[in-house]
C-alpha cells in the first residue's frame, strides 16, 4: 500500500450485517472498524487518516440521520454512506442534501457499496489535501510583517504600486520592496498566483 492508510467505519445494530460488510470491504484491502451504535463510534479512538462512515439509518438510540446532523454541527466532515432496510425517497433526499455520499437500500449490491466507499475515501482524501494546503498558505501568510500584510491586501485588490505608496504615505520603491518580500515569503511566482492564494485563504476551509 503506497497510499496512506485509510479506515472504513461501519455503524449498524445488526452484528450479522456488520460482519458481512467488514468481510466484503476488507476483501478489497481496506481497513474496517465496526460499531453497534453511534455512541460507540463517537467514543472510539480514531486514526487521523482518510476515512468514511457506513451508517445504518435505523439505530438504537439516535437515528442515522440525526447522527449525520450532529456530526456536521461538530464540524466533523467525514463522508457518510447510508444503508437502510426500507429507505424511502424523502429520507434519501434528506440524507443526500445533508452531504451524504450515497444512500444504499438493503440488500445492496456489493459493488455499489465498494464504489461508494471509494468515492467517499477520494472525497475525504481531497478534503484533507485541500485542508493541508490552506493550512500551509495561512502559515506563510501569517509570517508576513504588518506592513507587508497591508501592501499585499492593497495589491491583490488591484491597486498600483504608486497608489499603494500614496495610500500608505511612502515611496513607490518601498512598496516594491515590501511586495517582492511578501511574494518571496508566500512562495508566489507571480502576482496572479499571489492573488489566488489570498482568495483561497478567504474562502471558508470546506469542500464545495
Amino acid at each position: 500500500m503506497t497510499e496512506p492508510a485509510s479506515v472504513i467505519f461501519v455503524v449498524d445494530d445488526d452484528p450479522s450485517i456488520r460482519r458481512a460488510i467488514k468481510r466484503l470491504v476488507e476483501s478489497v484491502g481496506l481497513q474496517v472498524e465496526l460499531f453497534g451504535a453511534a455512541q460507540e463510534f463517537l467514543q472510539s479512538q480514531r486514526q487521523d487518516v482518510p476515512s468514511c462512515l457506513v451508517l445504518d439509518i435505523r439505530l438504537p438510540g439516535i437515528s442515522g440521520l440525526d447522527f449525520q446532523r450532529e456530526l456536521a454541527e461538530a464540524k466533523n466532515n467525514i463522508p457518510i454512506i447510508f444503508i437502510s432496510a426500507h429507505g424511502d425517497v424523502p429520507m434519501a433526499v434528506r440524507a443526500m442534501k445533508a452531504g451524504a455520499v450515497e444512500f444504499l437500500t438493503k440488500p445492496f449490491r456489493d459493488q455499489d457499496l465498494l464504489d461508494a466507499v471509494q468515492v467517499a475515501l477520494d472525497r475525504d482524501r481531497a478534503r484533507r489535501e485541500r485542508e493541508g494546503e490552506i493550512a500551509t498558505l495561512r502559515e506563510r501568510f501569517e509570517s508576513l510583517s504588518p506592513r507587508e500584510h497591508e501592501v499585499v491586501a492593497m495589491v491583490v485588490s488591484g491597486m498600483l504600486n504608486k497608489q499603494t505608496a500614496a495610500e500608505l504615505g511612502t515611496t513607490e520603491n518601498t512598496v516594491k520592496v515590501h511586495r517582492s518580500r511578501a511574494m518571496e515569503k508566500m512562495q508566489a511566482q507571480s502576482l496572479a498566483e499571489l492573488v489566488k492564494m489570498v482568495e483561497r485563504l478567504k474562502l471558508p476551509p470546506q469542500a464545495s
Partner: protein, 816 residues
C-alpha cells in the same frame, strides 16, 4: 289585788292599783275612799271628797252564779230556738230573750247591790226597768244570731256588738239609776275597756252557743263549762264597769221615783231571778223531752207506713210477674205461628208460591225487597214484569210447560232489582200434592247466582285468552298426562313437527322414535321429559320431512303431576349464531391482516436484515472465488453466516405467516412469556423506528395458560402497537414496559403493557373497547374490541388504566 276573804263582809283598803296582767282578777277597781258625805246621821264629808265603797263578797259570788245560770239558760235556749220552726221559734226566741235578759239584768243588779257605799244609795226605778228592756232586746238579738242556720263573720260581729252594747248599756243604765249624795265620775279608759270586753265576751258567747246548739252526748257538761266561762266573763265586764266609776261627795240627790233596795228586796230579787232561771231551764228541758217523744212517735209511724208500703209493693210485684208470665205464654203461642213467617222472610233466599194454575200469590220479604214491589204488584202475572226482556219468552214457555205437566221448574233468569239492574237467579219451583197426587200448590225459590255467573264469565274469558295464546303463540306446546302420554299439542307444535296429534294417535306412532332416531339420544330426551326438575336444554329433533332442527326445550310441571313441554325451533338462531361466530372469526383475521399491514415496514426491515447479510456475504464469497487464491477459512465463515441468516429470515416469515393464518382457533398450553418474546422480536423494528425503548419484566415460573397462540399474539401486538401509537406525539420519553406476573389470589396470569404517552382522555377511555372506535387517523377501531373479545373468550379480562404518565393496559388469563 288581794281580797281579804276572812274579813266580815267589809274591807277597807286604800288606793288599790292593779296590774293589767293579773288576768285572774275579774273586778278592777280604782276607787278611792277618802271622805263621805252622807245623809241621815252619817258623818259629813267635806265637799269634793272621794267616797270609798266596799263590796259584799257574798253578793259578788251570787251575782257571778246568776251570770253563769243566765249563760247556761242562754246556751240551752239557743239550741231550742234553733230546733224550733215558725211560731214555736218566735215563742222560744221571745221566752229565751226574756229569761236571758232578766238573767243579765239580775246579775248586774246583784253586782250593784254587792257594792256598798258609806252613803245611802237609792235607785231611780224607771231607769232600772229600761235597763231590763235593753238586756232583753240584746238577748233576743244574740239568740237570733246564734240560732240561725249559718253564722258568717259579719253576723257574728254585728250580733256581738249589739249583745255587748246591750249588756254594757244596761249596766250603765243601772249606774245612771243610782241616787246618792255624790257625783259619779267615769274613767274613760276603763269604760272603753268594759265596752270592748263586753263585745269580745259576747262574740265568744255567740260562737260557743252556735257550736253547742246541736245536742250531743256531752253537751250538758260542755254547756255548763261554757256557761261558767261566759258567766265569769259577763261578771268581769260588770266589775270593770264598776271600777270605771268613782264617786265624789255632793249634795243629796233628787229622790223622786227612787227606791231603796233593801236586803230583803235584794233577796227577793235574787230568789225571783233563780225562779225565772229554773223555770226557763225546766221548760227548756221539758220541751226538749216532749220534742224527743214526738220524734219517737213519728219514727214509729213512719216505720208502720214503710212496712205497709213494703207489703203493698210485694203484692204489686207478684201481680206484675203474673202479667209478664201471662204475656210470655201468649208470646210463645204466637211464636210458633210467626216463626215460620219470620224464617220465610229472613232467610237469604227469595221464596214464592201460588195455586196450581200458576198464578203466583205469595212472595217473601226478601223477594219483595229485591224487586222493590208489593205483594199486590207481583201477584198473578205481575212477577213477569221483572224478567229480563231477553229471558222472558224462554222462561214463560218453560213455566207454562211445568204448570201444565206438573213437572219441576228450573231456569236461570235475569231479574230486575229495585235499583233497575238485572241479576242472574236460579229459579226453581216444585209442587205440593195431596195423597191423591193432585197439585195443591207451587212452591219456589229464586237464588241469586250473579256472582257465580260473573265468575263463569271471567273464567270463560280467561280460558279463551289462554286458548288463543295456546293456538297462536309461535312456541311449541305439548301437554303430557300423568302417564307421560301426549294429550294435547298446539298448532305450532304440529306445524313444526309435521304430524298432527290425530295422526299420531291414529297411526299409533312412537313419537319419540320419530323425533329422536338415535336410541341413545332418544333415551336422553325421554329422561329429560320425565325428570322431576328440568332446566332449559337444547335438542336436535328430526321432523316429519326429515330435516333436523334445533329445539330449545323446557318442561313445566303442573300440580297434579302432568307436564307441559315447551319447545322452540331455534334452528335459524343457531345458524345465525354460527354465521355470526364465523364472521367474528373473519373479522378477527381481517383486523390481524390490517395490523400486519400496519406492521409492513417493520416486517420488511426484519426480513431485509438477514437478507442484507446473506447477499453481502454471498458477494464476498463470489469475489473470493473469482480471485486467484480464495481463502477457504474466510469462505467457510461467510457461508456459515449465510446459512444462519437464511434461517433467521425464514423464522421471520413463518412468524408472519402464523399471524396471518386462517384456521380454526386452537387451544394449546402456552407459555405467555414466550408469546411476549416472539411479539417483541417481531416488533423490534417498529419499536426502533419509533425510537421507543422497550423493557420487559417477565415473571419466572409462570404457570401455563390454555389458549390460541396466534390470537394471544395478536392481543399483545395490538397492545404494543397501541402503546407505540400513544407515544407518537413528541413526548419526552418513549418507554414501553411489558410485564408478566401471577395473580395468586385468583389463579390467573397477569400481563401488563405500560406506555409513557399522554394517557387516555377520560372521555375516550370509556369507548376504547367499543368496536370501530379509534383515535388514529387511519385506524379501523377494531384492535381493542377484538383483543377484549379474544381475552374474554379465553376466560380472562382486559382493561385499561390511565394517568398523565401514560396508559396501562392489562389482561388476565386463567391458569391452566
Amino acid at each position: 289585788m288581794v281580797y281579804d276573804w276572812g274579813a266580815p263582809t267589809r274591807c277597807r283598803s286604800a288606793v288599790a292599783v292593779f296590774a293589767p296582767s293579773s288576768a285572774a282578777d275579774t273586778a278592777i277597781h280604782v276607787v278611792e275612799f277618802s271622805s263621805s258625805a252622807s245623809q241621815g246621821g252619817l258623818p259629813m264629808i267635806s265637799a269634793n271628797a272621794v267616797i270609798t265603797g266596799s263590796y259584799n263578797y257574798g253578793e259578788v259570788a251570787r251575782s257571778i252564779l246568776i251570770a253563769i245560770a243566765a249563760s247556761y239558760a242562754a246556751l240551752d235556749l239557743a239550741g231550742r230556738v234553733t230546733a224550733a220552726r215558725g211560731r214555736a221559734r218566735a215563742a222560744w226566741l221571745t221566752g229565751g230573750a226574756c229569761v236571758m235578759g232578766i238573767g243579765i239584768w239580775e246579775m248586774d243588779l246583784k253586782g250593784m247591790l254587792a257594792f256598798h257605799l258609806p252613803v245611802p244609795v237609792e235607785y231611780y226605778w224607771p231607769t232600772v226597768l229600761a235597763a231590763l228592756v235593753v238586756a232583753i232586746l240584746a238577748s233576743a238579738v244574740a239568740l237570733h244570731v246564734a240560732s240561725r242556720r249559718r253564722m258568717g263573720p259579719a253576723d257574728a260581729l254585728i250580733g256581738s256588738v249589739i249583745m255587748g252594747g246591750g249588756i254594757v248599756g244596761q249596766h250603765y243604765l243601772h249606774m245612771a239609776a243610782m241616787r246618792l249624795p255624790a257625783i259619779t265620775r267615769y274613767s274613760p279608759i276603763l269604760v272603753t275597756i268594759s265596752i270592748l270586753l263586753a263585745i269580745l265576751f259576747s262574740l265568744i258567747a255567740l260562737l260557743m252557743a252556735f257550736g253547742l246548739r246541736e245536742e250531743t252526748r256531752w253537751s250538758i257538761l260542755r254547756k255548763l263549762g261554757s256557761a261558767a266561762v261566759m258567766g265569769a266573763a259577763i261578771s268581769a265586764m260588770h266589775y270593770i264597769g264598776m271600777a270605771a266609776a268613782s264617786f265624789i261627795s255632793a249634795s243629796p240627790p233628787d229622790l223622786s221615783h227612787a227606791v231603796s233596795i233593801s236586803p230583803i228586796a235584794n233577796f227577793g230579787v235574787f230568789t225571783i231571778a233563780w225562779i225565772v232561771l229554773a223555770a226557763a231551764i225546766t221548760t227548756s228541758s221539758v220541751d226538749r223531752r216532749r220534742g224527743e217523744e214526738v220524734r219517737q212517735l213519728n219514727q214509729e209511724l213512719e216505720g208502720r207506713v214503710a212496712e205497709r208500703t213494703r207489703q203493698l209493693e210485694a203484692v204489686n210485684q207478684a201481680l206484675r210477674r203474673e202479667i209478664v208470665e201471662r204475656e210470655q205464654t201468649e208470646e210463645a203461642l204466637r211464636h210458633s205461628e210467626d216463626h215460620l213467617r219470620l224464617v220465610i222472610d229472613t232467610i237469604p233466599q227469595q221464596i214464592w208460591s201460588g195455586p196450581p194454575d200458576g198464578y203466583l200469590d205469595f212472595f217473601n220479604a226478601q223477594l219483595l225487597s229485591y224487586v222493590g214491589l208489593t205483594q199486590e204488584g207481583l201477584q198473578g202475572e205481575g212477577w213477569q214484569r221483572v224478567l229480563h226482556p231477553d229471558d222472558r219468552e224462554r222462561v214463560l214457555t218453560s213455566w207454562r210447560e211445568s204448570v201444565m205437566n206438573g213437572t219441576p221448574f228450573e231456569e236461570e233468569v235475569r231479574n230486575r232489582g229495585a235499583n233497575g239492574k238485572y241479576r242472574w237467579f236460579l229459579v226453581r219451583g216444585v209442587t205440593l200434592r195431596d195423597s191423591a197426587g193432585r197439585i195443591l200448590r207451587w212452591y219456589g225459590t229464586s237464588t241469586d247466582v250473579e256472582d257465580r255467573k260473573q265468575a263463569e264469565g271471567e273464567l270463560r274469558k280467561q280460558k279463551e285468552v289462554f286458548q288463543k295464546i295456546f293456538e297462536n303463540i309461535p312456541v311449541m306446546i305439548a301437554f303430557f298426562g300423568t302417564d307421560g302420554q301426549i294429550e294435547l299439542v298446539n298448532p305450532e307444535w304440529e306445524r313444526t313437527i309435521g304430524w298432527t296429534l290425530e295422526e299420531i294417535r291414529e297411526q299409533n306412532l312412537d313419537i319419540y322414535a320419530e323425533l329422536f332416531p338415535d336410541p341413545h339420544y332418544r333415551q336422553m330426551a325421554r329422561e329429560y321429559a320425565a325428570a322431576s326438575t328440568s332446566e332449559h336444554t337444547d335438542f336436535k329433533v328430526r321432523v316429519r320431512d326429515g330435516r333436523v332442527i334445533d329445539m330449545a326445550a323446557d318442561v313445566v310441571h303442573l300440580s297434579d303431576g302432568s307436564r307441559l313441554g315447551i319447545g322452540k325451533d331455534i334452528t335459524e338462531r343457531k345458524h345465525t349464531e354460527a354465521a355470526l361466530q364465523k364472521s367474528q372469526e373473519n373479522l378477527v383475521r381481517v383486523t390481524r391482516v390490517i395490523a400486519m399491514g400496519e406492521l409492513a415496514a417493520a416486517i420488511a426491515h426484519e426480513v431485509n436484515q438477514p437478507l442484507t447479510a446473506i447477499v453481502t456475504n454471498a458477494n464476498f464469497c463470489l469475489r473470493e472465488l473469482a480471485g486467484g487464491t480464495p481463502k477457504v477459512e474466510k469462505l467457510r465463515e461467510a457461508m456459515g453466516e449465510i446459512v444462519s441468516d437464511g434461517a433467521r429470515a425464514s423464522a421471520v416469515t413463518s412468524r408472519i405467516r402464523a399471524l396471518l393464518q386462517k384456521g380454526a382457533p386452537e387451544r394449546t398450553k402456552l407459555d405467555i412469556n414466550q408469546i411476549i418474546e416472539e411479539v417483541t422480536l417481531l416488533l423490534r423494528g417498529e419499536l426502533t423506528r419509533n425510537r421507543v425503548s422497550l423493557r420487559t419484566d417477565l415473571g419466572l415460573d409462570l404457570p401455563r395458560v390454555s389458549g390460541d397462540r396466534v390470537q394471544l399474539q395478536q392481543v399483545v401486538i395490538n397492545l404494543v402497537m397501541n402503546g407505540i401509537e400513544a407515544m407518537r406525539s413528541p413526548v419526552q420519553t418513549r418507554d414501553l414496559l411489558i410485564k408478566s406476573g401471577r395473580n395468586h389470589n385468583r389463579n390467573e396470569v397477569l400481563i401488563q403493557i405500560q406506555d409513557s404517552g399522554e394517557g387516555l382522555d377520560p372521555q375516550q377511555a370509556k369507548h376504547i373497547f367499543e368496536p370501530f372506535f379509534t383515535t388514529k387517523p387511519e385506524g379501523v377501531g377494531m384492535g381493542l374490541s377484538i383483543s377484549r373479545s379474544i381475552v374474554e373468550s379465553h376466560g380472562g379480562r382486559l382493561w385499561a388504566e390511565s394517568d398523565l404518565k401514560g396508559s396501562l393496559f392489562q389482561f388476565t388469563l386463567p391458569e391452566q
